[in-house]
Symmetry: C2
Subunit: 117 residues, 2 copies
DNA sequence: TGAATACATGAACAAATGCTCATATATTAT
DNA sequence: ATAATATATGAGCATTTGTTCATGTATTCA
């Protein structure tokens, strides 16, 4: 399966590639998704908004580690937080993120099943 | 324009999230796209296959830097190489990559235009 | 065969990353 | 007010990352 295929010239991509800022922003999103802990956080938030402690339990890391990663995700505009009593509830801020994760997981699922032969 | 929205429970995502290997593989793809040089390489290859020296000129980095990054991309199965005389021609190995870049660039374009107000 | 061109690769190093530990802040309950 | 719970954050540290420099290999041409 994987024969040599031609990818039709992608005009969208070409038009953006001239803009350094856009390329940099794009790499920042992918960077956010490139860490195991952050990927877990974001995918958990894809399903529903969650408090810091819920995320901490789901990801099996310390509270501090989660908070540091949440700060990074906040700074990059991928999640937003609202306080609710003692808790702070985080939500996905962007629908593109869910799309990216879906496509990334599809690719990953194929790769894993192929190499796992 | 960004009101609070609900993301419908994504069954695909949920089904993959149990598998650690798949999550790890996914983060590896995103990691490949998270570096400026690599992103340039991959987007150039989205348009058409290219030799190492063509990529070097496009990305404005040294030949060594390009080769090191190409090795990483090869190891992760995102590109493949074929020799053609003195040249080695690199091509995209996976169509998912183009999709990911397209979505990432769309997100980035919105973000940049919003913050640039 | 020898020189030139194209590409690959190991070592080294500075910079970035992700975590832990300690501590600070905010909210609620007593 | 005090204690308890939930979250945030700075400093420090080990690891990873991306590059450069030097050198190695492959191919073509004279």
């Amino acid at each position: 399966m994987r024969e040599e295929h031609t990818i039709e010239p992608n005009e969208l991509i070409e038009s953006y590639l001239a803009n350094e800022d856009i390329i940099y922003e794009a790499t920042q999103i992918f960077d956010a998704l490139s860490d195991y802990t952050r990927f877990q956080i974001l995918s958990a938030l894809c399903v529903s908004s969650k408090s810091v402690s819920e995320l901490k339990d789901l990801c099996h890391v310390t509270q501090s580690a989660i908070s540091h990663q949440l700060r990074l995700l906040r700074d990059r505009g991928l999640v937003f937080a609202r306080r609710e009593g003692q808790h702070v509830i985080y939500s996905l801020a962007d629908e593109h993120v869910a799309t990216l994760m879906r496509v990334g997981l599809e690719h990953a699922a194929e790769t894993v099943s192929v190499e796992g032969e």
